[in-house]
Every structure is written in C-alpha cells, then in structure tokens.
Symmetry: C3
Subunit: 474 residues, 3 copies
Amino acid sequence: MEKPSLKETSFAMNMNSDHTRKTVCVFGTGDFGRSLGNKMFQCGYSVVFGSRNPELSGLHPKGIEVLSYTEAAQRSDLIIIAIHREHYNFLTELAEELQGKILVDISNNLKINQYSESNAEYLAELVPGAKIVKAFNTISAWALQSGALDASRQAFVCGDDKEAKQRVMDIGRSIGLTPMDQGSLKAAKEIENYPLQLFPMWKFPLYLSAALCVFYFVYCMLREVIYPYIQEEKDNTFFLAISIPNRIFPGLALNLLALVYLPGIIAAILQLYRGTKYSRFPNWLDHWMLCRKQLGLVALAFAFLHVMYTLVIPIRHYVRWKWSSRIINQIKNNKTDPFNTTTAWLSDSYVALGILGFFLFVLLGITSLPSVSNTVNWREFRFVQSKLGYLTLILCTAHTLVFGGKRFLSPSILRWYLPSIYVLSLIMPCTVLVLKFILVMPCFDQPLTRIRQGWERNSKVSKKAQLGNGKNEV
Amino acid sequence: MEKPSLKETSFAMNMNSDHTRKTVCVFGTGDFGRSLGNKMFQCGYSVVFGSRNPELSGLHPKGIEVLSYTEAAQRSDLIIIAIHREHYNFLTELAEELQGKILVDISNNLKINQYSESNAEYLAELVPGAKIVKAFNTISAWALQSGALDASRQAFVCGDDKEAKQRVMDIGRSIGLTPMDQGSLKAAKEIENYPLQLFPMWKFPLYLSAALCVFYFVYCMLREVIYPYIQEEKDNTFFLAISIPNRIFPGLALNLLALVYLPGIIAAILQLYRGTKYSRFPNWLDHWMLCRKQLGLVALAFAFLHVMYTLVIPIRHYVRWKWSSRIINQIKNNKTDPFNTTTAWLSDSYVALGILGFFLFVLLGITSLPSVSNTVNWREFRFVQSKLGYLTLILCTAHTLVFGGKRFLSPSILRWYLPSIYVLSLIMPCTVLVLKFILVMPCFDQPLTRIRQGWERNSKVSKKAQLGNGKNEV
Amino acid sequence: MEKPSLKETSFAMNMNSDHTRKTVCVFGTGDFGRSLGNKMFQCGYSVVFGSRNPELSGLHPKGIEVLSYTEAAQRSDLIIIAIHREHYNFLTELAEELQGKILVDISNNLKINQYSESNAEYLAELVPGAKIVKAFNTISAWALQSGALDASRQAFVCGDDKEAKQRVMDIGRSIGLTPMDQGSLKAAKEIENYPLQLFPMWKFPLYLSAALCVFYFVYCMLREVIYPYIQEEKDNTFFLAISIPNRIFPGLALNLLALVYLPGIIAAILQLYRGTKYSRFPNWLDHWMLCRKQLGLVALAFAFLHVMYTLVIPIRHYVRWKWSSRIINQIKNNKTDPFNTTTAWLSDSYVALGILGFFLFVLLGITSLPSVSNTVNWREFRFVQSKLGYLTLILCTAHTLVFGGKRFLSPSILRWYLPSIYVLSLIMPCTVLVLKFILVMPCFDQPLTRIRQGWERNSKVSKKAQLGNGKNEV
C-alpha cells in the first residue's frame, strides 16, 4: 500500500511542475470518449486513449495515441472510463496499474434506477485501490464537439477523495464547463439519474390540466355547439377555434391557481387536527406541495392564452359581423340602445380586475425564475408567493364573479340543466378562499402559528416550547 | 494551548478516515435545531443533540441521541448552536469542551441591527478558543423539513478559519444547499440582517410611485369625473375602472422612466461643476442612483398595465356604445365622416411609437434579470441600459407628444384651467431629454469624459493624468 | 531561489495570523487603481500605493500611504499592477523586490487581440520570479466607487499558482465580487478580450435581419404605397407607421425562425452524404449553428412586435373609419352582408394558430434564459428546443397559410406581378419543414442516428461501433 502512494505523490509533483503537458488517459474510443478526449487535447492536455483493439481505432487528431489499456494506464494518473458499465469487469485485471489512480466514471444508464447501486459505486467496488470520481455524464457529446454549451454548462462532480475531485473539476473548468461539487460518491446515483429525467416535477400538473381540459372541452361542446345544433340547427362549429378555448383556458387557469393554494390549506387543517407539525403528511400531499410552483406556471400559461384570445376578440370576423348587424338592426328598427351606466361599470370592472389579476400573476411568474428567486430571502419569497399569490387568486375570482354579473340569477343561462362553464370554475377558488378566510381568523391562526414554531399539543416538551417565540428555541 | 490542538488534529484525521459516520452535534432542540439535525441525519450524518433537559426532548427519529450539553459536545468537533443569542452565556461554562472546536452560529435576530455586534462575533468573544462559523440562518426550517428549496438554496457562510468554514460548507452541500463563502466573520452582521429585509431597494421607488399615483388620481378625478358631474351632470364614475387608470399609468411610467435618468444628469452636472469625480455625491443622490434599476422596473410595470388597459379598449361596453352611436348619428344625419389622412397618420404614429417604446422597455427589463445581466460585460450593459434606455425614453416621450397632437394648441382641453394629465406628464421627461441633449454637446461632453477618467480641474496631478487615456493610468 | 521562498512562507504565515490588517500594495494611482485601492481599504485591508512620483499623488483617504515602487513593494506580498501594459518594462528593475510575490494584472487593452500574447503572460515573462494572477479587468471603476454592481459581479480570475489565485479570489469576495476561477494563465487572453466585446454572437442575426428588413420594406412599399399611388392616385403613405411594419415583422419572424432550423438540416444532409460526423463542417455552417439561439430571439422580438401591431388594429383611426363606412354602405345599399361560416372558420383558425405559435415561441424564449436553461438537463433542453421549436415553426407556418386562405388562388392579389409579401415569406419555412419531414422518414433517420452515435460508413471501426448502442462505446 505504501509504494504506489509514494510513486503517485512524486508523479503528482511532476504533474504540477509541468502544467503545459498534463497527460490524461481515456479508456474507450466510443463517441463520448473521443469527444471528451479531443476537447481536452484542444485545451492543451496530452491525451492517450486505451482500447481493446488499438490498431482498429482510426480518425484521431495527430498527437493523440491509441494504446492498449495497460500501456495507456501507465501514462497517466487520471483515467477517464468511457466504457459501458456492462464491460467494467475487465478493469479488475488492471487493478495493479490502476492502484492509487483517479478513475473518472462518466457513464450513463438507459433507465432511471437501472441498477441497485450507481455505476460509480460499482466501479469503486471493482477497483478498490483507485480514487473514483463521478463526472461529465450530464454533458452531451454534441455539446463538446460543437462548443455550443447553450444548455447546461454545469458538470456535476462527486467523489470521496477531495484532491481527486479537485483535479477533475480543474479539467472540467479548463474545457469550458462549470463543475458543481455534489459531495461524496453517494451522490453518484442522483447524478446518474439526472440526465434521464424529462421534467419530473411537471408530470402531475400537466396530466392534471390535460384531464381538466378534456372535461371542460366536452362540457363546452355540449353547451355551445351540440345544444344549439340540436335545438336551433345552428352551425357553431367554428367556436372550436377561439370561443371554446377562451372558455376553457380561463377556467383552467383559475382552478389550477386555486389548486396551488389548496394543499397549504389542507396541510394547515391536518396540523391543527394533529396538534403537531412533526408527523409526516400523506405522500400525495407531500408531492402536491412540492409541485405547486409547476402548477402555478401551468396556470399562468393558460391565463396568458386567455388574455391573448380575449384581446383578439375585436378582429374576429364573427364578432365584427355580430357588432355590425346589431348596429344595422338598431337603424332598421329605428331605435337606439340607450347607454347603461351599470353595464358600463360591470364591463369595465371585470376587465380591470382581470388585467390586475394577470399583472400580479405575471409578477409571480417572474419571481419564480431561478435567478430572481435566488436573489430574494425567505421573508421576501413568502411575501410574494403567499401574500401576492392570494391577492392574485382573489382578483381572478372577482374577475370571474363580476363577469358573470347579473347572469348568475337568470335561469335562461341553463342549457340541458348545465350552467355556464364559469359557474363551475368558481367552485374551487371560492372554496379555497373561504377556507383561507376561516384559517386566518385568530382562533385558528394563533394555534397554527404556535404549531409551526414547534409547539405540540400532546407532548411533554410543549410547555417548554411555548416559552420560546422564535425558531431557535433552547 | 498545544494539547487541544494536537488532540483536535488527531480527531480530525479520524473524522476524515471515517467518511460515512461523521458526527455532528446540535445544541438546542427547538424547531430549527431539530429540522437541521433531522435533515443531516437523513443525509448520512450521525447526529447528537445537546439539551438542558435531555429527558424532556421527545419525538426524535431512532438513532438520534439527546444528551446533556457537556456529553453532546464531547461527541463531535463540530457543534451547531441552535440557541437564541440571549441564552449564549451558558456556553462560557463549557469553554473547555468547546476548545478548538467548530461552533456554527445559525441564529437570527428579530430586528435589523438589533445588537451592536453580530451574534456570531458575540459568540466568538464568549468562547475565544473555538472556531466560529456563521451559517444557515438564511434557510427556513420549513424548507429543510419539506425539501422544497424553491426560494433560495443559497446558504451564506462566513468565518475566520478556512478549514472550519470548508467543513460547514461541505455539510451544507450534502444537505442540498448551495453554500456561498462570504469571507471573514466580519460579514456575519450583514448575513444576520439579510433574512430580516423586505425588499429594501424597492421602498423608495414604491413610495414615490404611490405618492405620484395619488396626485395623478386626484387630478384625473377632478377633470374627468367631478367637472363633468358639476358642469354637465354626467355620471362618469365608471371611468374609475379603466379610463382613469389608463391616464394615470402611462403618466407614471413615463415620469418614473425619466426619474431613472435624471440622477445621472444631476451627477454629471455636479461633476462638471466640481471639476472632479472624487468628491462624494450627497447621500440622497447616491441612494437615488442605487435604486434606478428598481425605479425602471416599477415604470415597466405601469407601462405593462397601460398597454393592457389600452388593448382592451375595443371590448369595453362604453367604447362599443360610443362607436355604435357615432355610426348611427352619421346615418341619421345622412352625412359620412370623410377619411382624414392626417388623422390616420397621427393615430398610427402614436400607436407605433408606443409599441416600439414598450418593446425596448421590455428588452431593458429582460436584460435586468440577474441571470441575463450576469452574462453581459460592462460595455454591453452600458450600451443596453444607457443607449437603449435613452432611446426608450425618447420613443415614449414622442408617443405622448404625438398622442396630444393638435390638441395641445386648443384651449378647449382646459377644464377649470387644468390641462390634460398627459401635458403634465411631459414636463419631467422633456426636461431630462433637453438636459441630456445639452450634456452630449462636445463643449460639455469632453471635459466630462476627462473627469470620469480621473482628471481633476484643481489638482496637482491633473496635468499628469491627462497624459493617460485609459483607466489604468500610471 | 531558496531564500525568498522561505522568507515568503514566513511572511505568509504572518499574514494569516494577522487577519484584520492584511496589507495590499497597488502600483499606479490612476482611476482604476485608486478605485480598487479605496474599495479594499473600506473593506478592512491596509493599502499602500506605489507611484513614480509619490509626492504628486493627492486625494487619498487618510490611512493610505503613497510610496515609491520599491518601498511599496516591500510592504506586501501581493501587488496589484494598475499600470498600462506599455509601461510594464520598469518592473524588470524591481525583479528582486517582486521575487516570489503575487502580481495581479488588471490591465485591459483598447482592441481585441491587440498583442500576440496576453498582458498577463507578458508580465509573467518580464518578472519570471513572481506569481502572476489575472483578475478584476472585467470590473468597472465606476461600479467599485458607487457600489452599484448591477451588471456583472463576476470577476474572472486565472493564474498558474493555486494559492496565489486563492488569495486574489478572497480579496475579490471580500470587496463584494463573485470571483470565477477560469483556470491557468492561458485563459488570460480570453479574459482580456471579454470586456471589449459588444454582443459578438448577435452580429450575424442582427445584420441578417436588417438586410431582410430592408428588402421586405422596399417590396412592401412598391406593392402597398407606390402601386396604389401610380394606379389609383391614392395616398397610402400613412401605411408606413403600422400597416407595412405589420407585414414586414411577421415575415421576418417566420423566416428567421426557419433559419434557426435550416443549419441543423444542412448539417444532417452533410453527415448523411459524408457518412461520418467526425469531419468538420464548413466554417460558415459552424458559426451559423452557434448563433441559432440569437437568431431565434431576434425572431421572437419580431413576433412580439407583430402581435402588438395586430392587437392595436381595432383602435387605429383608419380601421375604425373603414369599418364604419362598410356598415354605412350596407345600410345605404339596403343589403346586409350575410354571415359566412367558412370565413368565420378561416378567420378564427389563423388567429388561433397565431396565438398558439406565439405562446410556444415565448416558451422557447423563456427556456433560453440562462437561469432556466441551467436547470434543465440535455434531454429536456433538446425536447424543448427541438420538438417544441419545430411545433412552433409548424404552427406559425400554418398561421400564415390559413391567413392567405383562398387568396392564394386569386390572380387579383398580384400587383406588378408581385405576390403579397406573406407568399414570399412562406418559401423558406415550407422548404425547411419539407426537408425535415424527409429526414425523419426511417430510411434517412436510421443511418443518421447511427452516424450521430459515432458510426462511420467508410471506416475500419464501423462494424465494431455498430455493436454499441449508447454513447460510451467500448
């Protein structure tokens, strides 16, 4: 054990004294191995490839040698393993050459959690004498070749040996990446799963809004297209392009926004009921709370579409025809519609409420951008996402209520006993607002605040805890 | 002094060789202490709590021990002090146990600058033999418990001992935070104030725009609602929803944008007058210059609202009724309004200027996002914020001027001798543009440029400085 | 060589033990040197200036000394060289004093690549015994003086000596900057060029769109203004404000978006033709591929303008006059335009397609924000930029096609044999979509996928490579 360590130290010293021609060894001449090797070569490293059939590997730039694994390993104390996990076992034969060296595992799997342990930990088991560093698996070969690092320059790195990790991070930096230290080799599993994910937090919000969308669509089709066709033989199919989406989208936006705040209310009720915040929430509630940001952004997308669909109303052929024919009818019948101040109030109010609600919604969206939310502290974040968020929900609910206006009371809006879609859309947000209103009343708010500061109803420490009033209680 | 140091070194070596079961001690079983302890326990640390009444502290996961302070301190060389500052003094009794150990101060205060020295520095005074690190106070207990680190993952860390700081940053990283090294323990005060702030830079812009808003509102109410009611008994109260906001918001946006560029002009005049850039500006000017970004973003918000309020004009009940009745009147009187090219030019120009101005305004807003402004260099930043900014101001001022059009000359727009609100709104931006125009004339621009490169009118070094022409003068 | 090293070590130890009064020396009392020195002094450093004429340098805060170069150098082991490169040569005389010390090169040049080697490397040649660190050249003197670090707090640092680099980065951090380690001194050239650049990646997209813009403008002027004037003596010049821009901008947006996807198609055809991905693309194609993001953002800007210009249509004087006179004509001629379902379908569809296309376009824009694209992995980035991007192109092309509608077939739209501008605008996006459609057919897609995984048609390794199916082939 002593000898390789000594040899390695002297080698490392040579390396340090010879900054310009550091040698890196790459095992495997596949696409990613070649891309990485060539990139390092371009950036001033001396690169040696190790291959099963060195004589078969063509197409390398001048100055890059392809040797057998054993020969290549002897050239460098840092070896990048650009080989599939399934073929790792040949490395056990090279145990002696790899002793004390830095092995960089850059492998990816085809599925999330494909193996019980991460590839890097498996490598560490196979070659116990080596220092394993997981790195570069999140970078694409194409990005390295083209230099287009538009997506992520972030190269997650983890490993148990600090100096080895530092060496690998230095290489990453010198080829234009931003290495991110993720801690010990235990993080390798997460790093290996990372590039296989496709928007994991977005799945629930997107599926939920798709399901709601289908329900709303069928409902609107029944009321707006099929009913007029059956009852009056009117062909309203062209409503499919704008009119019906513009009934679905606002309803979706409002309900999804309400669903952002519902889990917080359920959690508060649970905490009040249980009298403690230390027992875990059910899994579905946990997951729901974690994807509230995504839910809110999907709601914002629908709100944006609703705004656009509303603003184009006056340039639609159908609307212009309707407005013209109303004017022509007034003249033909020789009576002018009088100006109605109440209607003007209602019309202007619902539009103004909608604009203010949308404005705050956009503000919430902007503050959820990673670079913006990183610059605010928790107090500011809570102020924006909770206070401004509820204000947005109130404004948008009021917008819908005023839009309905007097029509709520008239039975003529029922078609086949179905109320207009905006009536349905109001159930959820109104419920959330009523529950929230109840929860902010002092009789519920005070015990809840105490519970959230760590107080527990049925606990021997409860009395003591009540003495403290901040978060760092003795 | 020698002994503890030696003991500590050997202990630290043990720690390093035993990566999997590092022990961390937490003093205090309050909410934040428990959240942090449990989180570290989940992430593979062995955690020991220290408490005044160990037997009273319930509800810990299996594997976490609660001991007396002394016993707990002996188990680890890193102790997290999850205790209010007011109770720190008991730590002096443990001085021997804490000798040479890392103490992590995570405390917060209730008010900004509550004490003359930071809690961490106070701790350092109390336990002079320990290595104090300030950390984690910006993280919320809820975020740790739920794993929802949507807001800031940034954990500011400072301390005088580099290795101690590194240890704490490693812990932060392993529990999912992004530690940010803030330097020596002197930074603790700022770190402790940070979570207590609520948008400090936004206060002046928001108060200013609120005051302007109230003034504009009263002014508009007088002209648009009270005047018609008194003179013509017309009920225009429904103007409150859209018409009046849409007169207030563009005026506010234009004036706030002008106020973004006014301090730069005042500074230039001051520098020209004083003949040097090295004497300090008055405090109010300094503060004004530092919140120009926030002023500009508030102006952008009002501009956005103005755009929305303008685009909904054709779907307002009042506007549709007005347009209809105009058409009906033309027919009744059997005379058709002829098409007027000049009016078409004016109408289209002011709309086009407004759109272009808003477009540049949005562009300025996007480039002020932290992640975008971080990718541009100073030359590019100045180009966008100065050149494009002035172009935006010019376009928006021209938009308002052309909107006024011929009406400026007609006395009929005065009501109670009050001109329209857009006339008032033009005073500030026109003043700023005229002053800027004067300042870019060579007779003022040349001495100003020299002053900004370090030249001083009344200085013995002035002649020498004139020889250089860059920023790194000899 | 031994002695200075020893001396330096003992000095460094003194420095470490004396955290509160670290001394930094600044050579040169120009603007930037003074700004940096004063800032460090404010942040608790003891600062000494070195100057050619110490007695001439006035205006320093109390506590800052100005000495001769030799005296100043003896006070500190870290010297900031705030001097123009042209005057570096006097440093050779101080070689003995500078031996083993850290020299921080903060100089900038006036032009990109002004000298063959970077200023920092030139300094390293002049004073071979010193440790050179390049830093702070990207920070502006004004930012340091005012504390307004709105633009970039990033201070790029590079150097061959790790400890020296660390010292400089610590100073940077303590004066409020975010030091970014850029690796060895070789990076100095890039760091020196950085502050001189003005949006280098935006040049091609902006010039291209300017050229297209001029062509479209002349074309539209001919058809919409000059033709009606000559043929019908109609004065349509007011079209210049809105009507003509609203024909140019959508065409530009659509064509620039198509040009984002064209280089990828050309590259695929080249790779299929060559049978390998390892030979380099022509330079123009490489450059084109690297500025696709900027091309797309310019296209988004034009799409945004198109949306705004479209939404204001109903509030334009000309449009309102046209709509009124159409209604008046209907009444005068006593015949009412019947409602046409097909026209309603076409009108609503092209508007709906446009809104959806614009929505996806905005989504693409948001995901290209640095802070957003940094949080997605490569799979997600490719999904958004490729799948959603092509969907955007399809929607926008369909929007234009449906906008044309039946008019494509009518010869009356030709004026002087010139078709409407939207017909021209469709050529490029349709070509791109047809080519893409051909390329995704299995007969082309399969060999292309293999080529992109590293397979080569004319290579001895091709058979072997076919065995692997991931990126890390053995």
